[in-house]
Symmetry: C2
Subunit: 275 residues, 2 copies
C-alpha cells in the first residue's frame, strides 16, 4: 500500500516541547495537513481559541487526547473522571476534532479484579455515549499494549475494544488503532477486518528494543524498530479506512531534539515507510 | 478454588543462585514435592545424574526449561536451534520431566515479518513433534507476554499457542500457562476452557508495577502485584487441569535473598493465595 502524504497528521505529543501555536506553525512549514491535539496544550489557550488557530492555519484536527481513566469504583473519583470526560467531549465538539481518544484506566487502587474493572469501562461508555452523540462527537476506544494493563488501560486488544464498542452506533463509538499497542496481535488482521468503519483513528510509530525503563517512551520514528508499518497500514486500508494517519511518538530523545528536525524526520519517514 | 500444598512445584529459576543439588535439598527441607528444571543447571551434573538426584530425593520433575528460539530462517542458525531442541527432548526423556517448555524466539535479525516468523515456529513444531512422540516427551508451547514479541517470543497469546498446538495430539504438544504472560488477556477464561487437556504446565507468579528496566525480571511473589492468581487458578482447574503448580519467579531482589528464605516465602504465599 502507498499512502499519500496529504493523509499525514502530526500528533502534538511528538513535538511535546512545543505549544499548540508552535506545533500548528511547524505543521504549516512542513506542509502537514492534520494535527492531533492534547488537552493540556489546548487548555493553555482555551478550546475556542485553539479551534480558530487550527482553522486559520488550514489544518484539520484529527483527534483529541484524551478522556478516560474510568475504572475507579462508585464514588467521588469515578464521578470526577466521568465529569472530566464530559468536558473533554465538549472540548472535542468545540475543536471539531474527528475523535476523542479514550484510555480506559488500569486496575483501581488495591484491586486485582480485572473483569470488574472492565465492567466499569462498559458502564462509563453507556453513560458518556449519549452526550457524545448529542454533540456529534465520536469516541474512540484505544486498546493499549497489554504491558499497561495493570496501571493504565484494562482494554488490551483490538478484539476487546470492538466488543466494547459493538452496542453503540459506529459514528458514536469507534476504536483507535495505534501500531505500538496492537502490532504483536496474531488476530490483528482479522480484528481490523471486523472493525471496518469502527476505525476512528490510525496512529503510527515504531517499537524499540530494548524498551526504556519507562515503557511509555519506547516509541521510535517509523523504521527505527520492529513494526512492519506498511503491512499494518495495508490491513487498515483493506478494512475500509481511508482517513488520516497520525504520527504519535513518546520518546525522550525525540522530545529533546529541535521540533523542526523532528517534523522533518516524521515527513521523511512517512514517505519512506508508507508513501 | 483451594489447591493442596502437595501440588506445589518450585521452578529452580526462582532460586537461581542454587545448583540443582541445592534446590533439590531446599525442596526436601521445605516439604515441596515438585521441581521445575533448567537445562543449564541440569547440564552441570548431566541429565542422567540429575534424574537420579531428583528421584532419590523423592521429587517429581514437573518441567524442563527450555527449547525453542526457532525463528531464524533456513540456514545454519536454524539447523543449530533445531538440533539443540532435539537434545533438549532427549534430556527431558532422561529426566522424565512432565513437559519440555518451548519459547519460540522473536523476530529474526533484520526482519519485521511477524507472519513469516510465526510460520517458522509452526514448521519447527512439525519437525520436532515426531521425535518428542518417539521418546514419550510432551512439548509445551509457552505464549510469552506481548511485550516480548519483538525479541523473544512471537507466540503472544494462549489463543495463538493453541492454534499452533491443534494439529498435534495433546499428549505430544500442549501449552504452558504462566500467569505473568497471560493474566491481561480478556479471552483467558475462554481459551483455557478451549485448552482443556492441552494444559501441560501451570506456572504462577505476580506482576509488579512499575516493571524494572529489564522486563524479564518484573515478577513477584504471589500477592506482591496485580494478578488475581486464585481466579486464574480456578479457570485452569475448571478447564480440567489437576496437575502441578510451579512457582517461577525471575526477580533480582529475590535472587539476592537467601534461598531458604525464598523457598519459605514461596510456600507461605502458595498457602495464602492458592491454598
Amino acid at each position: 500500500v502507498r499512502l499519500s502524504l496529504n493523509r499525514l497528521s502530526l500528533n502534538q505529543a511528538t513535538t511535546k516541547a512545543w505549544t499548540l501555536a508552535e506545533t500548528v506553525d511547524g505543521c504549516v512549514r512542513a506542509g502537514i495537513g492534520g494535527i492531533g491535539l492534547w488537552r493540556d496544550r489546548v487548555e493553555e489557550v482555551g478550546a475556542a481559541e485553539a479551534a480558530k488557530l487550527i482553522r486559520r492555519a488550514g489544518l484539520h484536527p484529527t483527534s483529541l487526547c484524551r478522556g478516560g481513566f474510568f475504572t475507579a469504583p462508585e464514588g467521588d473519583e469515578r464521578a470526577a473522571a466521568l465529569a472530566d470526560c464530559r468536558r473533554a467531549i465538549e472540548e472535542c465538539a468545540t475543536l471539531s476534532a474527528d475523535v476523542l481518544v479514550l484510555v480506559s484506566g488500569g486496575l483501581p487502587a488495591g484491586s486485582r479484579d480485572l473483569p470488574a474493572a472492565r465492567e466499569l469501562v462498559r458502564d462509563a461508555l453507556e453513560q458518556l455515549a449519549p452526550r457524545a452523540a448529542e454533540l456529534g462527537v465520536r469516541l474512540g476506544i484505544e486498546p493499549l499494549h497489554p504491558m499497561f494493563c495493570a496501571d493504565r488501560c484494562v482494554v488490551s486488544s483490538l478484539r476487546q475494544a470492538l466488543d466494547l464498542a459493538e452496542p453503540f452506533p459506529s459514528d458514536v463509538v469507534g476504536v483507535v488503532v495505534d501500531t505500538y499497542h496492537v502490532w504483536w496481535d496474531a488476530e490483528l488482521d482479522a480484528q481490523l477486518a471486523r472493525a471496518g468503519d469502527r476505525i476512528a483513528s490510525f496512529q503510527v510509530c515504531d517499537w524499540l528494543v530494548p524498551l526504556p525503563a519507562d515503557m511509555l517512551l519506547g516509541r521510535g520514528h517509523l523504521g527505527d524498530g520492529y513494526i512492519d508499518i506498511r503491512r499494518i497500514a495495508a490491513s487498515v486500508e483493506a478494512a475500509g479506512y481511508s482517513g488520516w494517519v497520525e504520527v504519535e511518538i513518546f520518546n525522550a530523545d525525540i522530545w529533546a531534539a529541535p521540533g523542526d528536525e523532528t517534523v522533518r524526520t516524521v515527513v521523511d519517514r512517512f514517505r519512506e515507510h508508507l508513501g
